[in-house]
């Protein structure tokens, strides 16, 4: 067993984990953050995307021990303290950027990171920037529209958060 200290959505956790435990398992099964989903489990679909020190990563392809000493943000840590949605969450809602919703947590986390990297992406940059996230339902059109709306909302609000 290995001792780890990880901040998840603003709370610090200290745990003993098996080195082989994946970050996504740790988040779901130890911390109880089941908002992060497992899709392919083979590092292809992006459903499990979380932010590790602000960088979007596929949590099915990171070990929990590799997150020791680092900060994780999941879909459950995006909304404000009073439950107000993050501009990217709001935009996915407004633009109907989901059908079954399975890809959505990962899609939103990657979009948050994308807008931090590039606050004013072109449509092509959005499509390219989301190419590690697969969606079987929407055809992507409304997802792209949602990221465009979120970019505008964040610009008006004075930058990403």
């Amino acid at each position: 067993m290995a001792k780890i200290t990880v901040a998840v959505d603003g709370t610090t956790y200290q745990d003993e984990v098996e080195p082989r435990m994946l970050l996504v398992q740790y988040l779901r099964e130890k911390v109880g953050k089941t908002g992060t989903l497992i899709g392919c489990d083979t590092s292809n679909c992006g459903a499990c995307t979380v932010l590790l020190d602000g960088a979007s990563v596929k949590s099915c392809s990171v070990l929990a021990v590799q997150a020791d000493g680092h900060e994780v943000t999941t879909i459950e840590g995006l909304a404000g303290i009073n439950g107000e949605l993050h501009p990217v969450q709001q935009a996915f809602h407004d633009k109907h950027a989901l059908q079954c919703g399975y890809c959505t947590p990962g899609m939103i986390m990657r979009s948050v990171c994308l807008l931090n990297e590039n606050p004013h992406p072109t449509e092509a940059e959005i499509r390219e920037g989301l190419n590690g996230n697969l969606c079987r339902c929407t055809g992507y059109q409304n997802i792209v529209a949602a990221v465009q709306q979120a970019a505008d909302a964040l610009a008006t609000a004075g930058g990403a958060r």
Binding site: V62, V65, R110, C113
Partner: protein, 283 residues
Amino acid sequence: MIPASFDYTAPTTLADALAALAQGGDDAKILAGGQSLLPVLKLRMAAPGLLIDLGKIDELRGVRREGDTIVVGAMTTHHDVIADPLVREHLSLLAKTTEQVADAQVRYRGTLGGALAHADPAGDLGAVTVALDAQMRIAGPNGTRSVPAAQFFTDYFTTALAENEILTGIAFDSFAGWGAHYEKFHTVSQAWSTVAVAAAVLVAGGTVTAARVALTNMGPTPIRARAVEAALVDGPASDDAVRAAAQAATEGTAPVDDATAPAAYRSHLARVLTGRAVLAAAG
């Protein structure tokens, strides 16, 4: 899918990592970004008893200048390679190729050293090191050595690294001022190359004065297209001349027949993509 159990250590110095590797013997495995290794472990295609994580060794990360040489630390992530000002100025072929590796999430974790040590014939970065004659810096129990890229890749998923050695950095000459392009053909946007071509050229007054061309996935290792280079140099950087030179791209290659593409189609791709890569590099 969960890997078989293993012990884990995350040393903070290269010396400690080498010691752990020496002690672990052939039951130990290096962990870099984990983007190739963890899927392999999850599929239980390998079950090492010990993982030695290089993630906490600062000396292996980052890009630095040593005189005329640019050294990329083995643990520099794809993301950081792309953003690095030295890489952008001196090694635009490396920057442009790395931008086409995988997807953003994988690029935040995967490292240049990990990609090269993994030596997947469909991996994109080997061709860059072969085209630019990079030197692989390697540390082992008896000190350090340097291996030219052309001798580093020995077979499918096989390199000159011994089991007790660690790739520490990749040293490049400066290619500031060269035009560069990586032309990648793949069937899924986030995925590996069916065939791809790395090209860097110097053009003066419409004439190609120097050229470097290497092919991805046209054999077990990345292959330098020297016949193309020879046909290009001292010729015009024109459409016709470049496409004629590109016909030599399949010389010395050994493409496979597989579910993605038949060998003959790969050869066709190699010629077409070489023309496109060189023309784009010549700008």
